[in-house]
C-alpha cells in the first residue's frame, strides 16, 4: 500500500481495533472510535477512564492499532505505545456536543480520558501483498503534521 492509500484507509475509518496486553499477560482487543489523527503514526481515542482497557494500558503501554477496510481488502496494523491523557488540550479536542450521555460531568468528568497512540512501526495487508512500515518512514511521512479531526 502507498502512503496515500494508508492515509485514506485511516482517515475514512470511524473505528479501529486497539490491541493491548492485560495484567495476566494475555492479548486483548477492543473496538474504539478513532477519528482524530496526526499523520499516519499518531491517533487519539476518547474513552472511559474506568474501562478495563484504560486500566490495563496504564500498567502496560504496549499497544497496536488496526485499521481495516473489508471491501477494499486493505488493512494496516500499527505497533507502538498507548499514552493516557486527561489534559484539557486533549479532552477539548475530542469533546462532542452530546458526550454528556457518557460523561455526565462534561469535559472535566474524571471518567473522561483520551488515549494517544504513537506508532513505532507497522505492516500493511492488501490483495497485492504485505509491506512493512518502518520508524524512518513514519518520521518522513509525519514531519510537520498536525491533529486533524474529529469531523
Amino acid at each position: 500500500m502507498t502512503k496515500e492509500e494508508i492515509k485514506e484507509l485511516i482517515n475514512s475509518a470511524e473505528t479501529a481495533e486497539l490491541g493491548f496486553i492485560d495484567s495476566i499477560g494475555m492479548p486483548q482487543i477492543r473496538r474504539v472510535f478513532c477519528t482524530c489523527h496526526k499523520g499516519i503514526g499518531n491517533h487519539l481515542i476518547s474513552t472511559n477512564t474506568s474501562s478495563m482497557h484504560v486500566q490495563e494500558i496504564l500498567k502496560n503501554d504496549k499497544a497496536c492499532l488496526y485499521f481495516a477496510d473489508s471491501n477494499k481488502f486493505q488493512c494496516v496494523c500499527l505497533i507502538g505505545q498507548a499514552i493516557f491523557h486527561q489534559e484539557s488540550f486533549y479532552r477539548e479536542l475530542l469533546w462532542h456536543e452530546g458526550d454528556e450521555i457518557y460523561y455526565p460531568k462534561g469535559v472535566t468528568d474524571e471518567d473522561y480520558c483520551v488515549i494517544e497512540f504513537i506508532a513505532q512501526k507497522g505492516r500493511t495487508y492488501a490483495s497485492l501483498g504485505t509491506s512493512d512500515i518502518t520508524q524512518e518512514m513514519l518520521e518522513n511521512w509525519d514531519g510537520g503534521a498536525d491533529w486533524i479531526g474529529p469531523a
Copy 2:
C-alpha cells in the same frame, strides 16, 4: 449479552480479529476468516503456514479472538490459546473448492494450515453493558457441541 446473542454474533460473522503477542512482546492484530465453530469457545481459522501471525503463534500461543457487529453495537472478546494444526481432519474440514489460488498444491500444501482457537474466558460488550464469560460458563454452554461450518 445472552448465550443466544453471543452465538448469533459469532455464527453470523465472516471474519474476526485475532490478537497475539509477537516475539518482541508487542500486541498484534490480524483480521482472519473464521466461519467454523464448536459452541462458543472453539473456532477454526485456515491460513498460510508462512504468515507472520502463524510463526509468532508457534512461539507464543496466547491469543484472543474478537467478534464485532457494529450495527448492533455488540462485541465479544474471547481470550485463550491458539493451536497450530496440519492434520488432514482440520485441513479437509476447512478446504473450499478454489482454495488452490492460495495453496497451489491443494489440501496437502505445506503452506496450508489451520489455527484452532480455544477460549478460556471472555467478555461481552453491548449497549446494555459489559459482562464476563467464565471458563465454567464455556464448559456448560459447549458440552457435546460439534464443529459447525464453514457454510
